[in-house]
């Protein structure tokens, strides 16, 4: 298999923060259902990894896995990577224009100023030692600035590690990579797979969610570290011809044309 596996993990962040658990709040997907992955869209995904081998049985290519986290109920990951920053800037620009328009003729009503103050939104502080989040203005789930700590768009969950049997038995070699990919914030987790040992191998994903809390009249991002599990199923089944369904052996060529 030279095609890369994409494994998407969708987190019900609101429920996970409420219950402080990812059990029942994590939905896994991959793009290998047609090759035999099972449990798509549930918390029990088993990702199929069909190995490729030379005639002597040795491994021919390395399968690559990519993990992509997303938050349910948030602005979807299909918006451009710089979307939140762009929105913040556009919003500030509009507010400044309105502020300038207010100051035109001396008297400025306090109602209008406080309306603008409301519009400015809030910028929460990053927790000391917190990782993965860039300080930015709060936006709601439709991309508008908000000052409400109850309406904010959930930041994308951050994968912090991948461990477990599949890693300790050296079936996968996961690592975080920087990427020019505009969709997933320039960072992603990927792994290559040793397909020479068929079997089912569970692994644990370590995830950091972010919760907004009010401390001393200030909004602060608190990180919440949780884990969830999935599995890989490595197979060494013979390849089939996708056009004819034939297995190993000679190609199903028609009998030699009759001698003419």
């Amino acid at each position: 298999m030279a095609q890369q596996h994409g494994i998407i993990v969708l987190f019900d962040v609101e429920n996970a923060l409420r219950t402080r658990s990812l059990d029942g709040n994590t939905y896994w997907f991959d793009n290998m259902k047609f090759l035999g992955s099972v449990g798509e869209g549930t918390g029990q995904l088993v990702t199929i990894v069909p190995g490729t081998y030379f005639l002597d049985g040795s491994q021919a290519t390395e399968q690559v896995l990519n993990w992509l986290p997303a938050a349910l109920g948030a602005i979807p990951p299909t918006v451009p990577r710089n979307y939140l920053a762009e929105q913040e800037r556009a919003h500030d620009r509009r507010t400044l224009e309105q502020l300038a328009a207010l100051g035109g003729d001396g008297e400025v009503s306090s109602t209008e100023v406080s309306r603008l103050q409301q519009r400015v939104g809030r910028r929460p502080r990053k927790q000391a030692g917190g990782r993965g989040l860039t300080a930015a203005k709060l936006l709601d789930v439709t991309g508008k600035a908000t000052s409400s700590a109850a309406a904010y768009n959930y930041p994308a969950p951050v994968i912090t590690d991948i461990t477990g049997q599949a890693v300790s038995e050296k079936i996968i070699y996961p690592a975080q990579y920087g990427s020019p990919d505009m969709v997933y914030d320039g960072w992603y987790w990927a792994a290559t797979v040793d397909t020479s040992r068929p079997g089912v191998y569970p692994y644990t994903m370590h995830v950091q969610l972010h919760e907004l809390v009010e401390q001393n009249d200030e909004l602060v991002w608190q990180s919440v570290d949780l884990t969830c599990e999935s599995s890989l199923k490595i197979t060494s089944d013979p390849k089939r011809n996708a056009f004819t369904g034939a297995g190993l052996g000679v190609l199903p060529l028609p009998a030699a044309p009759p001698a003419g």
Binding site: N31, F34, E86, A90
Partner: protein, 152 residues
């Protein structure tokens, strides 16, 4: 555990988001959206059910704001929610885009408390196919207390 800032509120500040996760490549190859559509919402705590199926039952109340959006499993293939057909006495969804993008979402307000489950129909545009895909299975809005399928 860090302190919680949120107070119990009569109406959540966030909309009830209904997200359609779609495998567009598999749907286009098989011309079957039902097997490649996974619906979820953010109201599991209120009793929504059918998570991960095309027959999601979302628990809603009068006055709730609903928001429908899409997450494609393959970010290089175009997917958009093209239409929502629902009884206009219950909700009248309007098409919007995230400001500054052409990424579509739909919103609606629930106009009345439901007396029975209200099925509705979603249509999606996939890839470069101009005819929308409409799954046979239908999701529904339900009132708190309606029996739905067990949530996953």
């Amino acid at each position: 555990m860090p302190p919680r800032s949120r107070q119990p509120a009569p109406r959540p500040a966030r909309p009830v988001t209904i997200t359609a996760v779609i495998d567009p490549v598999a749907a286009l190859a098989s011309e079957n959206l039902d097997d490649n559509l996974y619906l979820y919402d953010t109201n599991k705590a209120a009793g929504s059910s059918g998570f991960g199926t095309p027959e999601l039952h979302s628990r809603v109340r009068k006055g709730d704001t609903l928001l429908w959006n899409v997450i494609p499993l393959e970010c290089e293939t175009y997917v958009a929610l093209a239409d929502i057909e629902i009884d206009p006495q219950i909700a009248e969804p309007t098409r919007k885009v995230y400001p500054g993008t052409d990424i579509v979402f739909w919103t609606a307000e629930v106009k009345q408390d439901l007396t029975k489950p209200v099925p509705y129909r979603l249509s999606f545009l996939l890839g470069t196919v101009s005819t929308p895909f409409t799954p046979t299975a239908r999701p529904a809005l339900t009132r708190p207390g309606d029996q739905g399928k067990e949530g996953r």
